[in-house]
């Protein structure tokens, strides 16, 4: 057991919250809520320190900025029968998301202080949730990924369903069933891919690179039957350089079906119109810290899945269906913005703004503009990086917005926008922070929201001009709903709602949650390379690998020929280019 080893370090990072949860469940005294909260906060802080520890860490676990490939890749046998491994690793795509997760969870725990119902259970579930979230971002075995995905689902269900508002049960069930529906589709896709995959064409070197143990490599290469795999990295390579997923089923290739199923599963999480209606309900009913985590981290899993799984494993389908991805992104942006404009519930408004902002993510990931004649992938790289940046930026701004709404709700116990007003005069410091964070959501330059939106919108033109124009128009709507809200809630002289006497200035605890969010929003807005230096190489590598296939996809006129090729014995000799 040595912390230098990535296997130990990443496992510790992932399971520390779960272990702590078990410890709290078993040993913590039930009646000392304060102690349990403090212990939980300490665990989230340690987890956060562990996650950023990789940025500054000692040799062995240090994350090397500028390196595009997967780092700290390790593999341990888990269920050998199905060749399921405990396979984890981290790269520029997952690292910022992991850090975001631990950061938002830490702040979320800080925001959980007012919770006084079943504190022990709450803290246990929150920590389990954290393990699930970190695991999703680190797992590179499809089955492991799926397990973490489900692990995260249940605590969330209870956190909404028990600690939520008046309609919590409806909201929790809705959240649960929507996500479950998505994960069932995902499971079908996973199995499709698993059973049509075959590791043999990859060759010994590649398998060694993927951390397959030496004795098993021989076994795989000598086998007569197809050697299936759940290894996401292997599936990516198979998807990109072999014809294994091109078998046809009801007129579409497996690849396409898998892409579609996975994509639906992920956009439920994003969420994208028309599968978004669980989100406003879940947010409205969830307690403040859970809203922060839900918006700040859980939504990001959808985007993460699309860039890590959908596109790299099913590139041709991704190319063919890019129009669908982009259109859904733009529709979500417009739809979310309009719907936000109509809301009177402050939290529901922020929830719809999330729908709109996450639309940028889907759009940015989808703008596969590396098309004929130049096959220049630069604009797509920009879109993808913008989308990934937007995920982090939205994680910060939306968590902040939900927290800011929560601060008000805690004082006056209502969220009706038309019953606020004059908050600025009563809570000046709070209002200053809130305005800053809302402006980050508005996409004001100098704050984090701008960079992602700007990059995504700029990169869209190259893919499709009409979509770009519509996407650009959303800036007007965003400004409208955010400024109108700020006006009704913060400006003016008179507070129109009940409990006016409760509007006391912000407390230091709340300050310590809001101020770091605003500080990060400014830092990332002014110096986006603080994220991009870590993220960009990996994201760009993903785009480059896929874009290099575009000319093949364009040149392919007859799918039948492809299938014939896939079924022919040439599979074994398929040349795998050095990636």
């Amino acid at each position: 057991m040595n912390l230098d080893s990535p296997a130990v370090y990443l496992s510790l990072l992932t399971f520390l919250p779960a272990v702590a949860a078990v410890a709290i469940a078993c040993f913590a005294p039930k009646d000392n809520a304060e102690l349990i909260k403090k212990a939980t906060l300490a665990v989230t802080v340690v987890t956060f320190v562990l996650s950023i520890g990789m940025l500054f860490g000692w040799p062995g676990i240090e994350f090397k900025a500028g390196q595009a490939e997967m780092q700290h890749l390790f593999s341990v046998d888990w269920i050998p029968t199905f060749r399921i491994d405990y396979l984890m690793g981290i790269d520029g795509i997952s690292l910022p998301l992991v850090v975001l997760t631990t950061f938002i969870t830490m702040l979320g725990m800080g925001a959980s202080w007012p919770i006084d119902k079943h504190v022990k259970a709450y803290c246990v579930l929150l920590l389990l949730l954290e393990t699930g979230m970190i695991g999703v971002f680190l797992a590179l075995d499809f089955f492991l990924f799926y397990v973490f995905w489900e692990v995260m689902l249940l605590p969330m269900y209870f956190l909404i369903g028990i600690w939520g508002g008046p309609r919590r049960e409806y909201a929790a069930i809705k959240f649960f069933l929507f996500t479950l529906f998505g994960s069932v589709l995902m499971l079908v896709a996973i199995l499709m891919l698993y059973f049509s995959s075959d590791l043999r064409p990859l060759g010994a070197d590649k398998l060694a690179e993927l951390k397959v143990p030496a004795e098993r490599i021989e076994q795989i290469l000598d086998a007569d039957t197809p050697q299936h795999t759940f290894n996401i990295l292997a599936l990516q390579q198979l998807g990109q350089s072999t014809e294994q997923f091109k078998t046809e089923l009801w007129g579409w290739t497996y690849e396409r079906w898998a892409f579609l199923l996975l994509f639906i599963g992920f956009i439920i999480k994003v969420p994208s119109v028309p599968l978004h209606t669980w989100l406003p309900d879940a947010h409205v009913e969830a307690p403040t810290p859970i809203s922060m985590i839900l918006a700040g981290v859980l939504l990001k899993m959808g985007g993460y899945g699309i860039i890590r799984i959908c596109y790299p494993i099913c590139p041709e389908a991704g190319y063919d269906l890019a129009w669908l991805v982009c259109s859904l992104g733009v529709v979500s942006m417009v739809y979310g913005a309009f719907a936000a404009l109509a809301q009177n519930d402050f939290k529901r408004l922020v929830a719809y703004s999330s729908v709109s902002h996450m639309g940028y993510v889907v759009l940015g990931l989808g703008v596969w503009s590396a098309m004929s004649p130049t096959y220049n992938a630069d604009y797509w790289k920009m879109g993808m990086n913008g989308a990934m940046f937007q995920m982090i930026a939205h994680g910060i701004s939306s968590a902040g917005m939900f927290f800011m709404v929560g601060v008000l709700y805690e004082r006056v116990h209502h969220r009706q926008i038309d019953q606020f007003g004059g908050i600025f005069a009563r809570m000046p410091v709070y209002s200053g922070l809130a305005v800053g964070i809302f402006f980050a959501g508005l996409g004001l330059p100098g704050l984090c929201g701008f960079i992602g939106e700007f990059f995504v919108v700029l990169s869209t033109w190259k893919y499709c001009i009409p979509l770009a124009v519509v996407a650009a128009a959303v800036v007007i709507l965003t400004a409208a709903y955010i400024l109108w809200t700020l006006q009704r809630v913060y400006l003016g002289t008179t507070y129109l709602g009940p409990h006016e006497e409760a509007l006391t200035p912000i407390t230091p605890r709340e300050m310590w949650i809001a101020a770091p969010l605003l500080a990060l929003a400014i830092l990332f807005g002014v110096y986006p390379r603080a994220i991009l230096d870590y993220m960009e190489p990996s994201v760009s590598l993903t785009a480059d690998r896929l874009a290099s296939k575009t000319s093949d996809f364009d040149g392919e006129q007859q799918p039948e020929a492809k299938v014939a090729q896939a079924l022919s014995p040439q599979v074994e000799t398929t040349d795998i280019p050095k990636l």
Binding site: H118, A121, L154, G161, I162, E169, F176, L177, F178, L180, L187, V188, L191, F195, T225, T277, F338, A340, L341, A342, N376, A377, D378, Y379, K381, N385, G422, F424, P428, V429, G432, L444, P445, G446, F450, I451, V457, L458, T460, W461, K462, A468, V469, V475, I476, A479, A480, L483, W484, Q487, L491, G492, T493, P505, I506, M511, Y527, P528, R529, E536
Partner: protein, 777 residues
């Protein structure tokens, strides 16, 4: 990174970026200091004391004052260290002029480079950089100077904010006025942030950076308009300003996207890779516009893209510079404190649109220029007609600003690059002077309504006569025979000359209008400006109570007025004993290839004339005299109505009643937009929210109910008989877990959990078996 064309012992290529960067960042430092320094005591529940607030004012003023000094140092370095272009002077022979034009066909001296990179993707790079040419230097000096003036002026004007403030515009339910703590330091904080953003906009080395600071000045304007945010009118005006500006920015984004996607860069200058200007006007093409740089295969598409890019960029400028049809926000923006109106909403920020058109001039195809000219012409007339009927002194000035910005746009659109930017600079001085004078008046009489004023020149002579200078400057007063006049005389004449020159080469009657409208506008301008001056300062006091309380403003305010008056008089002049003037400085920045007479591609009979041709005597003399006559006519009319009272304003209003109502209601644009855009947007938002509530959700609920029904049915058949008997350990564990949680509160969860776990395992097993057999078979 720098591309210097001239190297000298003290290399401007390195000193200028440093000096200007310091000048740019100083106000930001002041902003940050005030923000942090004054938020901390507030968190502890305290509030900034009188002395602390004053310190904030001095801090901000000191910062912008230092910036101003640095900007002037930069100007001096520029003038001494860089070799001037040969500038074609006014009276040159055609031959010499031809030679000069050829010489001009080289890029102007400029320094461009990068402070730091925001992001790089392959060959695409977005950075924080600089592009420094004579225009940057001139604008830097202008903005820092006026900003410093406004900072100093505000020390007097905003002194009420130092103590607890009584807002007389807001009545509380108990019949008193609204009391609140003063916000003096906030005001300076916003001013500092604005100065920083505006300077960043000027220094920007690429359009992406321009866009960022474009939005930032927008948000500063939002804060400053909404400074009295307790007043509903102020918060509405602030929202309106920002949202209308965003409409323009939408167009600007389209322009940016087109350029970015076609050229692969948004840099103005060349740093390592060729920038936009050298791609679109390359040396190989003698700096003529080269649409092929847009990269698509057909020439028509290229031209269309370039047109779209130009018009898109111009949309942003329409929003920021309050041009028709997005002009409606600026009059409402007068809700902000008057120094803000002087700095942000007349002299600098709203002029940023004109600046940007000037900066991006090499991008515009002749057809796009025509669009600019038409919009400018419509704006200048429309705004002038509204100004003549307004009674709010600040609104008159606001409409006058819109109208003058229209002049600048018109000039740029007709090929008068130097004329438009020259007017931008002169206008900045006399309009900030006018606004600060009006602020001085408002400060004295506590009202904006000119009908409550009158005779004030006896009470506040300094204000009255400096404002008279401002009025004379804006109408372009001067003596054509001698060629002397106030600053506005030179710049407005240059615009009229260009319009005259344009009308001479373009025969069609539509184009003639582009000459007649500015001439008519000159008449109306003189009329409404002197209507304002006469109503305010001459005649009998309309409200004796207000008159008796009126007093001249403190020295900090009057001093600034005098300083600005000096500039309003002299900024158009040559430096005695040299050829140096604002115009000659601007000529040094003229973009390569934009001077030649060009003709449109889609509109072959559209000719944009060489600007230097407008200085030929056969154009300059008649144009100058017409402008003079128009201005004098307007002045006379105002005098007839408001001094000699030969005509009564009320009678004129009655006899032109429909037109008067049109003007008074600002052509009903606000109402029109409310019906055309605001309400439909709200309807649409209700519609979309309704889809969620009445279509998607019921559908989902229906599905859920159906599934639940099915589950109950299955429960009877399967669960009791099959599953219960063979449930495995994992499921039992989960069952217990669910059970234990169930005791906490929730409903019928365990059923779900069991179904999920069993269902998934079953699916997994079934599929894997099928596949095994399928593949084995």
């Amino acid at each position: 990174m720098q591309s210097a064309r001239h190297s000298t012992p003290m290399n401007p290529a390195t000193t200028l970026p440093t000096i200007l960067a310091i000048a740019w960042l100083l106000p930001l430092a002041a902003f940050a200091l005030v923000w942090v320094g004054y938020s901390l005591p507030q968190m502890a529940g305290g509030r900034a004391s009188y002395g602390a607030q004053r310190t904030a004012g001095w801090l901000a003023t000191g910062a912008i004052g230092t910036s101003c000094v640095l900007a002037i140092v930069a100007l001096i370095i520029w003038l001494t260290q860089t070799a001037p272009h040969e500038v074609a002077t006014v009276h040159e022979t055609a031959a010499a002029h031809q030679a000069a034009s050829e010489h001009m066909a080289s890029p102007p001296t400029s320094y461009s480079g990068i402070y730091y990179t925001l992001a790089q993707f392959g060959k695409l790079r977005i950075s924080i950089g600089y592009y420094i040419d004579a225009l940057t230097i001139a604008m830097f000096a202008l903005v820092t100077l006026i900003s410093t003036c406004v900072h100093i002026y505000s020390m007097g004007y905003m002194h009420e904010e130092l103590e607890d403030m009584v807002d007389r515009e807001i009545a509380t339910p108990d019949g008193n006025y609204y009391h609140r703590p003063g916000r003096y330091h906030r005001f300076y904080q916003y001013l500092s942030l604005f100065s920083f953003s505006m300077l960043g906009l000027l220094l920007a080395g690429n359009l992406a950076m321009v866009f960022m600071f474009w939005e930032l000045v927008g948000i500063c304007s939002y804060f400053l308009i909404g400074f009295y945010f307790e007043r509903p009118s102020a918060s509405y005006a602030a929202n309106k300003a920002f949202i209308v500006n965003r409409v323009g920015d939408f167009g600007m984004l389209i322009g940016l996207m087109a350029l970015w996607s076609c050229l692969g860069t948004l840099d103005f200058g060349d740093s390592n890779t060729p920038g936009m200007f050298s791609q679109l006007r390359s040396e190989a093409h003698q700096y003529e516009l080269d649409a092929a740089a847009m990269g698509s295969e057909s020439a028509d598409t290229n031209y269309l893209l370039l047109f779209v890019a130009g018009v898109g960029l111009f949309c942003g400028c329409v929003g920021k510079s309050a041009q028709f049809p997005l002009h409606t926000w600026l009059p409402d923006a007068m809700e902000g404190p008057t120094p803000v109106s002087a700095l942000v909403h007349s002299a600098t920020m709203v002029a940023a649109g004109v600046y940007l058109v000037g900066r991006c001039y090499p991008i515009f195809v002749p057809e796009a220029l025509l669009v600019i000219a038409i919009v400018g012409a419509i704006t200048l007339t429309l705004a002038a007609t509204i100004a003549i009927t307004a009674y709010d002194i600040k609104r008159v000035l606001a409409y006058s600003t819109i109208s003058q910005l229209g002049y600048m746009m018109l000039a740029l659109g007709l090929g008068g690059w130097a004329a438009g930017l020259f007017h931008l600079i002169t206008h900045a001085f006399f309009k900030s002077l006018l606004f600060l004078c009006s602020g001085s008046v408002i400060h004295a009489v506590h009202t904006n309504d000119m009908r409550q004023m009158g005779g004030l020149r006896h009470k506040m002579p300094w204000t009255a006569y400096t404002m008279l200078i401002g009025c004379l400057a804006i109408i372009g007063a001067g003596i054509p025979a001698l060629g002397i006049g106030l600053s506005g005389y030179f710049s407005k004449d240059a615009i009229i000359e260009q319009a005259w020159s344009f009308a001479r080469v373009n025969e069609s009657s539509g184009y003639q209008l582009l000459m007649w409208l500015p001439l008519g506008g000159a008449f109306i301008t003189a009329c409404y400006m002197f209507r304002l001056w006469f109503m305010t300062f001459t005649g009998m006091p309309a409200n004796t109570e207000r008159y008796d309380h009126a007093h001249e403003s403190p020295r900090s305010m009057v001093g600034v007025l005098v300083l600005l008056a000096v500039f309003a008089v002299g900024v158009g002049w040559h430096v005695p004993g040299s050829k140096l003037s604002v115009t000659s400085l601007l000529e040094r920045a003229r973009p390569a290839g934009t001077l030649e007479t060009t003709t449109g591609t889609w509109l072959p009979n559209l000719t944009v004339p060489d600007e230097h041709l407008s200085h030929e005597p056969q154009i300059a003399i008649p144009a100058g005299w017409s402008a003079f006559a128009m201005a004098m006519g307007g002045l006379l009319l105002a005098a007839i109505i408001y001094v000699w009272r030969w005509l009564r304003a009320e009678e004129i209003q009655q006899s032109f009643s429909p037109i008067h109502r049109l003007f008074v209601n600002a052509w009903w644009f606000d109402q029109l937009y409310d019906w055309m855009f605001v309400r439909p947007a709200l309807w649409k938002s209700k519609f979309f929210a309704g889809i969620d509530r009445y279509v998607i959700d019921p559908f989902v609920n229906l599905l859920a109910r159906g599934t639940a029904f099915l589950a109950r049915a299955l429960d009877l058949v399967v669960d009791r008989k099959a599953v219960d008997g063979s449930i495995n350990g994992l499921a039992r564990l989960t069952w217990d877990f669910g059970n234990s949680l169930h005791r906490l509160q929730t409903g019928n969860l365990r059923q779900y959990v069991v179904f999920i776990v069993v269902g998934l395992l079953g699916l997994f097993a079934a599929v894997s078996l099928c596949w095994k057999y399928a593949l084995a078979g």
